[in-house]
């Protein structure tokens, strides 16, 4: 019995339900080497709960997170998410359905900001709100608040983040990820390489999202952060690399 299984006492609050999930990479350019990241995973996540993925490097934590977001394509299994009252299986949904889920239901925060040339960091953050119909003015006000909370100096707000330091880019990314509350949030090492003050802010943002009912799945390298935010821990174990016989 996996510890991430939810007792049937509270079936009502599940927003994410993973069954029999497998992921194997086949590297055609490297002699067909097969790398099994994980197999037969079952995970459930409820409203307002934070599940921490835990395991050594190479255990497949990021691969699982990316699979939940449909950035990686699982080999088998299902990832059923509650999207506006409908169940969508991210493992088999059409690209358009996946985009719809990402637009309104599922948010993903990675350590790295994929820089869009020339767009100011204020607009990068505000865009998340205007894309949902919020007026430009109020979206910008909220974006400023969020950037200030994450200690991004005001003189940087109008600049494109291409020239920012790694830590600053990461915080812009977090601001963008948290400015809108998604019912499901996937966090890949959101506090990696942040200083204590910013770590505290991120912990507070996660707590606020949980209090608002968000289901969170995250990888937290920092033990103190994990202890502070995680309600349950899901252990992943490294798989063996099996060379392809064919």
């Amino acid at each position: 019995m996996n510890i991430a299984h939810i007792s049937s006492a509270m079936p009502d609050k599940r927003v994410l339900s993973v069954r029999g999930l497998c992921k194997t990479f086949t590297l055609h350019t490297q002699g067909g080497t097969r790398i099994e990241a994980f197999s037969d995973l079952d995970v459930d996540v409820r409203e307002g709960e934070c599940l921490a993925l835990h395991g050594p490097s190479g255990a497949g934590k990021s691969t699982l997170l990316r699979s939940l977001y449909a950035n990686y394509k699982p080999c088998a299994g299902s990832i059923v998410v509650n999207h506006k009252g409908t169940r969508v299986d991210m493992a088999t949904a059409s690209p358009r359905a996946v985009l719809a889920v990402r637009h309104s239901t599922m948010g993903y925060v990675s350590q790295f900001l994929r820089v869009i040339p020339r767009v100011s960091c204020l607009d990068i953050v505000a865009e998340r709100l205007t894309a949902h119909g919020e007026a430009e003015q109020s979206a910008r006000e909220k974006a400023k608040e969020m950037l200030a909370r994450l200690h991004i100096p005001e003189r940087l707000w109008r600049l494109a983040p291409a020239t920012f330091s790694g830590g600053e880019q990461q915080r812009v990314n977090i601001a963008r990820g948290f400015i809108r509350r998604y019912p499901v949030m996937l966090l890949d090492e959101p506090t990696a390489s942040l200083d204590a003050a910013n770590r505290k802010t991120v912990v507070a943002l996660i707590e606020e999202a949980k209090a608002a009912g968000a289901a969170i799945v995250g990888i937290f390298h920092d033990e103190a952060v994990r202890d502070a935010v995680a309600d349950r821990v899901y252990e992943l174990f490294p798989q063996e690399v099996a060379p392809c016989a064919a």
Binding site: V18, T29, S78, D89, S94
Partner: protein
């Protein structure tokens, strides 16, 4: 089975026990919407030589579809077929026009075809010289397309032309200059303005950033991204640049030797490519 039912079935295609409170109350409206462009069993041969083979695809309203692959993979052949520049040897290309009528683009009367090309479609060439009239002023290049759509009032046309020049970040005092006096990046932006001024529903783009310096490319990419979003355009974009594809396209088609070898969500195709050829393409990118 209707498209809506099919979509519902897809959304529920799982054996996993699912909490009962999540009711199938509504099908994703996106999936129920009819396609703008449907390509069915299209092949094209240049004499003996195959240009592309057995192509099936759909483009939905508001979607940017990227076609990637190396030179000679058939991307440009496919783009030209989709844009009705020549008919395929086999198969059909169906377009749902502004009135909702599904039309086979290779069976249109010449009058209807011209109307579509002028009003509902745009085509952005890699080389702006192929899409601009080089002996006509910048304002004239934009105004010509408006007049083709029925505008007659000189003041309005000039006003719109000036507005579009500013949207593509060309100074108003260059309105009377010919494109020959423009830089490559400005010419490309002018070509985009000329195409978008008539508010087309569907725009074809052939390597729109291909011939430009990297810094100019970044500016154009950002501009394209904004315009596509603001105008809700449907775009078919051919590019060999995977970074451009990732930034602009929702969905990708990977072509090799005239055939589609992989298709899917852009970031999934690029981050977790399934086909050997796509893996090769992705792994060949130089890390900048």
């Amino acid at each position: 089975m209707t498209a809506a039912q099919a979509a519902t079935q897809r959304a529920f295609a799982t054996d996993a026990p699912i909490p009962m409170h999540i009711l199938p109350v509504d099908v994703d409206a996106l999936d129920a919407e009819p396609a703008l462009l449907s390509v069915r069993g299209v092949s094209h041969y240049y004499g003996e030589r195959m240009g592309c083979r057995d192509i099936n695809l759909e483009l939905w309203p508001g979607e940017v579809l990227g076609i990637v692959g190396e030179s000679g993979s058939g991307k440009s052949t496919l783009l030209n077929l989709l844009a009705g520049r020549f008919p395929p040897s086999v198969g059909s290309i169906l377009y749902r026009d502004g009135e909702g009528v599904l039309r086979d683009i290779n069976r249109l009367s010449e009058a209807v075809r011209r109307r579509l090309l002028r009003t509902e479609w745009g085509f952005v060439h890699q080389n702006p010289r192929d899409g601009l009239r080089m002996r006509v002023s910048a304002g004239g290049n934009i105004g010509e397309r408006l007049m083709a759509c029925g505008s007659r009032h000189y003041g309005n046309i000039r006003g719109t032309a000036l507005d579009w020049l500013s949207r593509v970040e060309i100074a108003a005092d260059r309105v009377d200059d010919r494109p020959t006096s423009y830089s490559g990046g400005m010419q490309q932006r002018l070509q985009i303005a000329r195409n978008l001024v008539s508010a087309p529903r569907l725009v074809f783009m052939d390597e729109p950033t291909g011939g430009l310096d990297v810094s100019v490319q970044a500016k154009l990419l950002d501009l394209l991204r904004q315009l596509v979003r603001q105008l809700g355009l449907s775009v078919v974009l051919v590019t060999h640049d995977l970074a451009v594809a990732r930034l602009l396209a929702h969905r990708l088609i990977v072509m090799r030797r005239g055939e589609i070898v992989e298709t899917g969500l852009s970031d999934q195709v690029l981050d977790d490519p399934q086909h050997a050829y796509t893996q090769l393409l992705v792994s060949s990118i130089l890390q900048g």
